[in-house]
């Protein structure tokens, strides 16, 4: 009897454990894998995310005007497994903790994250290339940064510049 009363008292003090969602917002843990956010400035369009995607939800395709690369994640095929975030070499993909995924049928084929990765011209020959993000440049070239401007050149020009000048002799 006493334990019974104790439980009742405890429950009265604690209050109901039911969350008030959808009338109030419910917090999600920071590491919850929800909707994907893509950062086109950091993306180098290496197609790694497309390759590892379990649900086949990611597509990277050259745009019609050839000025960049279209990145699309269709959330209706995404398993939210996080492989793309794990394998992304430049940390361009991040799975946010946004779990509000319910939507109406007419939005089915629009329910996607679409970004556009712009190409820039090579500083030496002018061929369009996808530039590296500042964080990746720092990762590769160290704190002093890209002194020779190699990160803004196409692979052929980079090879030529390195051959002419070399990395060690300045």
């Amino acid at each position: 009897m006493s334990t019974f009363l104790k439980v009742i008292l405890q429950n009265i003090i604690k209050g109901p454990s039911t969350i008030k969602y959808p009338f109030e917002d419910s917090l999600a843990p920071e590491k919850l894998r929800g909707k994907i956010k893509h950062n086109p400035d950091a993306c180098v369009a290496c197609h790694m995310c497309e390759y590892v995607c379990a649900g086949g939800a990611i597509r990277l395709q050259e745009s019609a005007d050839k000025k960049g690369v279209d990145f699309v994640v269709w959330h209706n095929s995404c398993t939210f497994c996080g492989l793309c975030e794990h394998y992304c070499p430049t940390n361009a993909i991040h799975l946010t903790n946004d779990y509000h995924t319910a939507h109406l049928q007419e939005d089915k084929y629009h329910y996607a994250e679409r970004t556009f990765v712009m190409k820039q011209k090579c500083t030496r020959c002018g061929e369009p290339i996808i530039p590296l993000s500042p964080s990746t440049v720092e990762k590769i070239y160290g704190k002093e940064g890209d002194v020779k401007g190699l990160s803004k050149m196409c692979p052929q020009c980079r090879r030529k510049v390195l051959w002419e000048g070399g990395v060690i002799k300045k």
């Binding site: 649900g55 398993t79 109406l104 049928q105």
Partner: protein
């Protein structure tokens, strides 16, 4: 009398679940949404029922496998009109990871008119509550 009943019935849609070849992940989440006091979908006035003949909102999970397709359609036809269909999980919506498999008949909306989609693998209970809330709104308009 009928008008009064129609007014009242709008506040309590009954929910029915169909497993169209699901891996049980989404089914567990749907059971969680209903049975665990933390989520408690019955606050919205709905209740899980055991027979399709009592149902108003139907939650369908699973990629609609070739074996289960006819059975799903049969059970779906037993649900009285007006009814609202919620596709839970990515499998009924797009086929998910089972897409293009020989054992999968295809997306759910090529056989059944779907109203609300709740993607996720499995979706969070809160997302399912969201989907059910949307379905209730649609269902109220169907009278």
């Amino acid at each position: 009398m009928t008008e009064l009943l129609q007014k009242i019935v709008k506040k309590s849609p009954w929910i029915y679940r169909i497993n169209a070849g699901s891996c049980n992940g989404c089914d567990v989440e749907m059971a969680t949404t209903a049975l665990i006091p933390r989520y408690d979908v019955e606050r919205l006035g709905c209740k899980y029922c055991g027979s399709p003949k009592h149902a108003d909102i139907v939650l369908i999970s699973g990629p609609v496998t070739a074996v289960v397709k006819d059975k799903v359609l049969r059970v779906y036809d037993e649900i009285p009109n007006p009814k609202v269909v919620v596709a839970v999980g990515i499998c009924p919506i797009s086929g998910g990871v089972f897409r293009d498999s020989y054992a999968v008949a295809g997306q759910l909306d090529s056989y059944i008119p779907v109203d609300v989609n709740v993607p996720g693998c499995p979706p969070r209970p809160q997302a399912i509550i969201d989907g059910i809330a949307m379905a209730i709104e649609i269902w109220k308009k169907k009278f």
